[in-house]
């Protein structure tokens, strides 16, 4: 498949996630849309790794050209898992104090 198809798919998933972060009021849904954005980037990185592998294969039959991108995806998953645990702890704390997970509510607490 040409790389543009993968780029467009990842871009569309990323912007759908971004619209979710901007639009939704429930803090948990916002968090899930952040995970969606991270996954879109993961998909794009793996597609690029296979593209580089394909390009390098024409020069050298035993190449390992695209491996770094897949390891980077692995580390992104590591960071996402750690971030989810801390973020959900924060959301639980927020719920315990104000009994709502509405992100607009925290804005009104300013005054």
């Amino acid at each position: 498949m040409p790389i543009q198809y993968y780029i467009f798919l990842a871009l569309t998933l990323f912007s759908i996630g971004m619209v979710g972060v901007l639009t939704r009021r429930n803090a948990i849904i916002v968090f899930m849309c952040i995970e969606l954005m991270l996954n879109a980037v993961n998909l794009l990185l793996v597609a690029f790794s296979k593209m580089q592998y394909n390009l390098a294969l024409t020069n050298n039959k035993a190449t390992v050209a695209g491996t770094e991108a897949q390891l980077f995806v692995f580390f992104i998953m590591v960071v996402a898992a750690a971030e989810v645990s801390v973020g959900l702890a924060i959301i639980v704390m927020m719920y315990r104090n104000i009994h709502s997970v509405d992100v607009n509510f925290l804005n009104r607490l300013k005054n």
């Binding site: 798919l9 639009t23 948990i28 969606l36 394909n54 898992a81």
Partner: protein, 167 residues
Amino acid sequence: MSATQLLFWFLSALALLGAIMVLISKNPVHSVLWLITVFFAISGHYILMNAQFLAIVNLIVYAGAIMVLFLFVIMLMNLDKTTDPQKNWWMKLAGVISGGCLLMEMATLVRQAAEMKGKTVMMKTGDIGLIGHLGKFLFNDYVVPFEISSVLFLSAMVGAVVIGKKN
């Protein structure tokens, strides 16, 4: 259209449908289930590109652990009731338009880029996605980030417990 292309289009359509349903669903539990569908579609893409290790890790970590954690939080705090409809739909429209503008701008850029023309992604074969080769790279060249990520996990665990403590 070959089987590979058919599978690519089907998985892409499933991922996009799942993503849009995550946004649209009123019930948070439905959003979680649609997001799990998206993760399955993305893992299918990984398998199509022969990134086998990442496909399995994606399923185990994201769909298996992170989404279960989300479901725990939603069910234990009784948030599965449908939230109130937002009265301000101009804000929603503004959000959708700004997201659409970002997508359009980036898609235009990609369309014009000369470096992206003619490059294809190798599907179904390729040794770099196999766990042996990835493991060799990870433990020879990238062992320091690997050890640091264990420290990151430790700090995340300690942070989560400290934040969640009742005084």
